[in-house]
Symmetry: D2
Subunit: 257 residues, 4 copies
């Protein structure tokens, strides 16, 4: 699918502020950037591309700042989680997949281990287990804007049963990890998300590959353009700053080209 995305962001920074931006879609094998343009304030920017294709911009800004990205991305036909697929024994997992079994800032899978193993013990292997987790979340957690804050972890979402996309994804990740399925978070531009916004989804490693799943079920995986993926939202924020700033406006658009 060919998807057109844009982000128009405006902030007020107080004093000289270091920022890391991750708003450019990854140049990963499963998506091709047809064209793109970036609007940045005129200061030096360091740009990296990780081996995974994830792109990061670093700079120092101050005052009122506008940031923008527009791009046309062909995400191919993003493969959906197949109907079946086995999970690997730890010994068979690639080295770089291993960290995604461990707890992280917002995904304390260690705390959810008893619950997960008791609840999903009969859920079968691999894909069946992932599906059982996603069904459980859809049934038990309510999408409630304002129910969480930036510090909310999956343990709290598990308790309160309410949250937004990053909370849904953190809980899905924590449960999968507790069940021995490597899982990570991805930030995406999502077609058909209403209202349009940066979106956070889950990726699970089953049958020897990573698959994207949206625990909120708010947008189709086929229309997602991946920006970055890592342990959890702490690692893939579209903007990280070293001091607080004020949001003036954030406008995201995503459409079928």
């Amino acid at each position: 699918m060919i998807v057109q995305v844009s982000a128009a962001l405006e902030y007020e920074f107080f004093g000289s502020t270091q920022v890391v931006l991750e708003i450019q879609p990854a140049t990963s094998p499963d998506q091709v950037i047809r064209e793109e343009s970036l609007t940045l304030p005129d200061v030096p920017w360091r740009s990296d591309v990780a081996p995974s294709g994830r792109r990061r911009l670093r700079g120092v800004v101050s005052g009122r700042v506008s940031l923008g990205y527009t791009g046309t991305i062909d995400n191919g036909s993003r493969a959906l989680l197949p109907a079946s697929g086995r999970m690997e024994a730890w010994s068979d997992l690639p080295d770089d997949v291993m960290p995604y079994l461990l707890p992280s800032r917002f995904c304390p899978s260690d705390s959810l281990s008893r619950f997960a193993n008791r609840t999903f013990a009969e859920a079968g292997d691999g894909v069946a287990r992932v599906m059982a987790v996603m069904d459980w979340i859809a049934e038990h957690v309510d999408y409630v804007p304002g129910a969480s804050v930036a510090q909310t972890g999956a343990d709290e979402t598990f308790t309160t049963r309410a949250g937004v996309c990053r909370d849904f994804t953190h809980l899905a990740i924590a449960l999968c990890r507790a069940l021995n399925i490597p899982a990570r978070a991805a930030s995406v531009y999502a077609l058909d998300l209403d209202p349009p916004d940066f979106h956070a989804v889950t990726e699970v490693y089953v049958g020897g590959a990573w698959w994207m799943v949206d625990p909120t079920r708010l947008a189709p995986v086929e229309g997602m353009v991946r920006i970055a993926e890592d342990r959890d939202a702490a690692d893939i924020a579209f903007m990280t700053t070293d001091r607080p700033c004020t949001v003036i406006s954030q406008t995201i658009t995503v459409s079928r080209a």
Copy 2:
């Protein structure tokens, strides 16, 4: 039932330490103290009896200290939670019952509200609802010594699904409160508890009266001798001190007279 209880406690206090002791069974209408004796260090003690019959000792101690209580208590035939019994509307609850609907230190019923109301929505009224909560706890939470610390609240026990008697009781209380059933914690001497120890149980207000229930199912309610009851374990500790001390030994015995 006539129950004989004793507590022989020894501590090392570092410097002058204020203590509140609640080791004497309550002189409440549902239990009669046949005889008792108290062993306290020879310092001034202030002794109070609350309207509920709960008894509290206050003093200041230091160094190596032995404290003891022995008593013979007739707890009548402690009434068991009946097979049915309605819960009251808030407007019909006595004033002094109202606080037991609200969250407390270890029972954040506010955080568990969505879960409780979704899970037990069909559980019926009053007693049926209490029974459903107790069954749920028995099925989903493991008794695991060492799984919790002094600061552990019911939200964490809900997440980790493991704890000891006070954790079970806190979770039972939090769930009942979230379901509009007033609930409180009671400290008791418990017959047939193995190993013998101070025990924490739940009391629920249904059908116009308070009923004692043990969410751990480790000891029969008939053999329990109530010491104190209040919002949660923070309020009914058998000993509260204003600085840390070291436990040398704590020996509890409970037997049928």
Copy 3:
């Protein structure tokens, strides 16, 4: 001082909802209600007055509901925390003051004990200790709307160093309790608070009496009209409901008569 207060509240309730309202100022010895009127939907209301003068309304409502209170209250000349005043030994505290030494839902004083005793060890007795706590909070905690949620406790505010009036008050209470000074929360109508709103302040027990203090320093104690006081915000909410509702509008006014 004679203070005129009003609250005009409008909510949307979904289905039949039990509510407890505490919007009427207390009829306590330190404040006299000169005149007042209450606007309530036409359903049965149960009205209680606690021995402390605290007043509570209970009813069942549904749909779009307007609630209102206006009153003229003479709060005398509310005594300010004196320049000195000793704290009592536990043994000398009245029975009904004892609970305010213990941790509660939002004031886990147990967790803050080491910090408090180390930091304020030299702060002197009673009033001096209270003042040291208030100064510490003013210096170390930022008033930041949106930094906390309904579940935020004083341990989190202590960590993040940001919050609103209830967070300031919870932290003040937790620190005072950790230092052996009984402390509780009071809900008030506060003159000169900008913007006008229900306000939460701290009361400490020193020198044999309760004194009101505002850890946010946003409004003068002299202009405060007390509604209710208890362990923490969980106990003194101006409205408690047994299911979620939507706020349409809340307008508070407080002026000098």
Copy 4:
């Protein structure tokens, strides 16, 4: 320094259990393995060496199992944190250092940001800032075995002011990250630690290099043999299992060869 280390570990596993072992010292440039031997149960083991020299064993075990390692390691003369050294701007940090600025499972640096920046604002740059953090921890946190559990994070240690080596290290890491200094955890064999045990220390990135520091000040950095380093204790456990097991015995020895 040439250091002789051994670990003799015995566990009871219940059913077939996947394990990851990290008990072998890293074969990193700053330490040379002179000789070593490993005692493992006779099942297939997968052994990896990460680019950093960190070594990981993966296998599946069950029943009563003994695991052992002995080695003689020359850790050269491990460089101590120099007296001065600047911290880098984000733009100048190597890509692989960037993750160590972000919060992780046990190091929620985001929550401690206000505190850190206010408290250490005047602490100077780089090394001076690290030293200020270490001094602050030494002054404000007590080493108290039993004060924490496996789930305890640096935010809780910050509140309670008590913990063991991993808590000290997590708090040091969280504070450094909040101050823009990349920081990570290292597991080590530590000479002169009493009692001998696996130890957790902090590594900070200043002046273009990583430096090891022990926030507990319980053992000299010169005598430390690094096993693994990563975001926090969740990532560098000496043993990770996919189900609970029982410790029969763990005996560590570390001596100067």
